[in-house]
Amino acid sequence: MKHQPYKDWLLSDELLSFDQSNKLQEHLMTCESCRQLSMAWSDVQHLFKSVPLVIPAVGFTARWNARVADKYHKNQRRQSWWLMFLYAGIAVFLLVYLAYQVTTAFDNSTQLLLIGINQVTALLSFANAVQDIVLALLKTISTVVPPAWWVVLGTTICFLSLFWFVSLRKLIFSRRIIL
């Protein structure tokens, strides 16, 4: 007995035409296996429709929030580790470069000593020049400004310093009011 296209029709989701439906019904009346298949599929459909929805355990959204937070923290930690490795890599590279530079410099230690002495001499010369300029300035000002003004200026500076110190102390150390 031919079972096609009847098997396809009885398992089809789409509506059959009037003619197809009649032919299928006639076939089912004579074919036991197709009838059983049709009943089986009907039972399966009823089972699918009758089985209730499964509800997740209470607190699903809270658990999801916790999962998101956990992923975020893990990402942050991973990024921190990557940054740390990157900086460590850069530091190691710089150390190696510095070590190479120092090693090559030690090959010519006399020249290094001379360069060092030159640098120190230049710094001392600069400091000397600044000192000369300041002294000259002070000499000029002292001839222009009378001594009394110096006393007034010095007293004002001392008074302002004291005032600043007291204000700072009051701001840093809060007063305790005991009731």
């Binding site: 396809d8 089986a40 089972l47 009758s50 929805l53 999801w64 999962r67 998101v68």
Partner: protein, 202 residues
């Protein structure tokens, strides 16, 4: 009118979630958790795996919100993500051959106070698992989307990255396999209560 108000609120949440607003996405999690959980449960057959898969699906959706196309319904897109994750999980599982009569009876939360009814419901759930386990992962996903979520062929095709004709073909083969499994495994002591639950999962 209520439906359009709900859709407007959901559209607002989606807009906010696309800008990275986690609170807005939480509202979407509240709205869709049952649907996503059910799909994952039908696909994986285990309560704990379904919870994990559902959580992961929402997380993936949250990360991909910038790529969500507003022209598509959010439910279709979200369930597509969940289905793909579940398909990957099924493929990663080691195949452990267990006789049918030794399958574990998974504890499923049921709100019914009647213990006898709870037992019947648990048995029904087990039968559903046994039937769905005879299908390949994509076929299972197509069946779940069709019969639990009333997805059209086009929606299933879009969700599973298949053509419409491929979906029709897979569903047809799946129906044949399910009906044959029903006959072969002698489920015929099952007498479904003929109170038709027409409400889809969404």
């Amino acid at each position: 009118m209520i439906n359009s108000a709900v859709k407007d609120v959901e559209a607002l949440w989606l807009d906010q979630a696309r800008t990275g607003d986690a609170k807005a996405f939480c509202h979407l999690v509240e709205s869709y958790q049952i649907a996503v959980y059910n799909l994952c449960y039908r696909m994986l057959g285990d309560h704990y795996e379904a919870e994990d898969a559902a959580q992961e699906a929402f997380l993936r959706a949250y990360k991909a919100m910038g790529r969500y196309d507003r022209k598509r319904p959010f439910s279709t897109w979200l369930l597509s993500i969940a289905a793909h994750y579940c398909i990957d999980q099924i493929r990663r599982r080691r195949m452990i051959m267990v006789p049918f009569d030794k399958l574990p009876n998974n504890k499923i939360r049921d709100t019914s106070p009647n213990p006898e009814k709870s037992l019947i419901v648990s048995e029904d759930q087990l039968k559903v698992h046994r039937l769905l386990d005879t299908l390949n992962p994509k076929g299972k996903a197509a069946v779940v989307m069709r019969y639990w979520f009333d997805f059209s062929y086009e929606e299933i095709a879009e969700a599973l990255h298949l053509t419409v004709s491929a979906v029709k073909s897979r569903l047809h083969r799946a129906r044949r396999k399910l009906a044959q499994s029903w006959l072969d495994n002698d489920f015929q002591e099952f007498h479904p209560e003929r109170s038709y639950h027409e409400t889809p999962a969404l």
